[in-house]
Amino acid sequence: MEGGAALVLWIALLALAAARLDRVLEAPGGALDQRLALLTLVLALGAVWWWSWVGVRGGGLPSVAGRGPGSGILPGGWPAFRKNRMAVLGLWIAGILYLAMLLAPFLAPFDPLAMPAFHETGDAGMRLAPPSRAHIMGTDQYSRDVLSRILYGARISLTIGLLAVGISITLGTFLGAVAGYLGGVVDAVLMRLLDMFMAFPSIVLLLAVVALFEPSLPLVVAALALTQWPFTTRMVRGEILALREREFAEAARALGFSRFRILLRHLLPNALPAVVVVATLGVGNAIVLEAGLSFLGLGVPAATPSWGTMVDHGRAYLLDAWWVVTFPGLAIVLAVLAFNLLGDGLRDVLDPRQGGRAEP
């Protein structure tokens, strides 16, 4: 029953994040915002910890074949992961980014949205000011501090990325598991559907959907999820197909467990490490795609400090004020690099021989 409860909690978290989405766009929200974000973080971490550690130790997931006790979701566990320095680096960077995003109101030296008028600052030279001690990353054309805007932009990029991937892996795991387990016509139809979806470059699909539907933030998230679900589905399907033939699955069948139970409690938990890899790499993709959309002016509303929007607005001043475009871009690179490192590291821990497969 632990698996079912964890599933409910996962969906509840997703719903909570989706409901809070509009708050992501709000101006700096003060103490309540912080407490809410920290609470969410603690809940999420607690849920993951509880499911992967307690579930195994207490014998709740009996078919975690080939793993030592208490090793949780990763075969070989934490020690194996720790040995991969690149992955640990990725985890650190991602962690720092997430913290910076949560603590933005404390870290940001200036208000990211305020546009001080000339008579307020008494100094017209604050427009497009180069990096200095006061403004480490300079100011943009409205005299806004670039660093502060980047810190707040992290909220948007990270939240949208995580939420979109959360939705896509939920959908993808479900579909992939069903297709892999049932096989036959269901599987064939789903695979064809996957091939069709994957034929579209992600950005093209994204652009088509965003263009034809009414622009809004939930649409962007939904469209992003739409571009990422095929990868999870294919991965889960492959894992389930392989796991289905293993001895523990045969034993479960011989014991007379229902197909549903076998799938949910025996096969899926063993497929989860692969899902984690795809999800991590998917967050990187989602961040780049969202930035790209915002860059074109088709993503978040133009007033909000998304990294992509900042690059777009700063383009006009490229040669006069290189910092307005460069630093937001570097932030994107840093975030995507973190998730790519983490994802690659996780993949190496799971299956060191898999290094030859290029999963975009």
Binding site: R192, L193, D195, M196, F197, M198, A199, F200, P201, S202, I203, V204, L205, L207, A208, V209, V210, A211, L212, F213, E214, G284, V288, A291, G292, F295, L296, G297, L298, G308, V311, R315, L318, L319, W322, V325, T326, G329, I332, V333, V336, L337, N340, L341, D344, G355, G356, A358, P360
Partner: protein, 330 residues
């Protein structure tokens, strides 16, 4: 081989149909009435109704789908809402530019990627290996639009004036003013100069991924018995690596082509936009901003179609390159 090719082609066709269907689904699910594109102020409801009938919008959905599919497969994509030109003409005018850019970028990326991958594999765990892997991952993590802007910042003609370097490239367009007045040699030189920055941007993002894949493939091949035999026979190392190992290592890399097509074309959208390269990607973005939906739909279909065709070509190439495939299961 023929059987293999035939089978591959036969799987590609329904895929094309599927791609077209997905595009239609997006259109069908979208809110809004297509007839409203032709709405003018003061139009009577009866006139709008007539327009709907003319466009065939009163027919049941599956009939609409059938008609739409038929015209799409015949290459009739309707009329652009901007200027009324047939969509097909607009697309055909810009498609060659995209193919040129993508083709050159892919060639560059493969050349650099294979070279780097082989060198990395033969010097595994060296400093060069680590640095190259790091650089590959770094470039792979970069958004293409930002890399494009950075290239302009550093290498464009205007930047050359600002920073003061001698070599710089045009940051936009496909040709300079006065192109038609140039001699042939100058024309070719002008084209190459305009192609440099966009192609380089696209290639950089891909080359890293290709290098990594080639490196891993080479490492696997170099561990094989026949390589050990070749070395035992006394063959010089370079022959072992370049003549024997590389050929076998490149086989799975061909399949990588298929995976990278969507990335290549997707990256082209942003690169074309930033460099004002008159290709399909820029057409897509412009059409979206101008709300020219027929072009958006046709463009989406073509992008998907190009990826399917690219995958087909890659599969056929794989059959040519790997004899096991065309004589075996396929």
């Amino acid at each position: 081989m023929l059987l293999y090719a035939l089978r591959r082609v036969l799987t590609a066709l329904p895929l094309l149909l599927g791609v077209a269907t997905i595009v239609f689904l997006v259109l069908a699910l979208a809110p809004g009435d297509p007839a409203s594109f032709y709405l003018t102020p003061g139009m009577s409801p009866e006139a709008l109704e007539q327009i709907r009938r003319n466009l065939g919008l009163d027919a049941p959905l599956h009939v609409q789908y059938g008609r739409w599919l038929l015209s799409f497969l015949q290459g009739d994509f309707g009329q652009s809402l901007v200027g009324g030109m047939p969509v097909r003409d607009r697309i055909l005018a810009v498609l060659p530019n995209t193919l040129l850019l993508a083709g050159v970028a892919l060639a560059l990326a493969f050349a650099a990627g294979v070279l780097l991958g082989v060198i990395q594999a033969s010097r595994q765990h060296s400093l060069l290996d680590s640095v190259a892997s790091g650089a590959s991952l770094l470039f792979y993590s970069m958004p293409s639009f930002w890399l494009a802007i950075m290239m302009i910042l550093v290498f464009s003609v205007n930047a050359g004036n600002v920073w003061g370097w001698p070599v710089s490239f045009p940051p936009s367009g496909i040709t300079s003013d006065g192109y038609d007045l140039m001699g042939t040699a100058d024309q070719i030189r002008d084209r190459i100069r305009h192609l440099t920055l966009p192609a380089l941007t696209l290639a950089l993002v891909l080359a890293g991924g290709i290098a990594r894949y080639v490196r891993n493939s080479m490492l696997e091949v170099l561990g094989q018995d026949y390589i050990r035999t070749a070395r035992a026979k006394g063959l010089p190392e370079w022959k072992v690596v370049w003549k024997h190992a590389l050929r076998n290592a490149l086989i799975p890399v061909v399949t990588l082509l298929g995976v990278y097509f969507p990335l290549l074309l997707g990256g082209a959208v942003f690169v074309e936009y930033v460099f004002a390269w008159p290709g399909m990607g820029r057409l897509m973005v412009e059409s979206i901003l101008l709300e020219d939906y027929p072009v958006v739909l046709a463009g989406s279909f073509l992008f998907g179609g190009m990826v399917v065709l690219g995958n087909l070509l890659a599969d056929l190439l794989y059959g040519v390159v790997d004899p096991r495939i065309r004589h075996g299961q396929g």
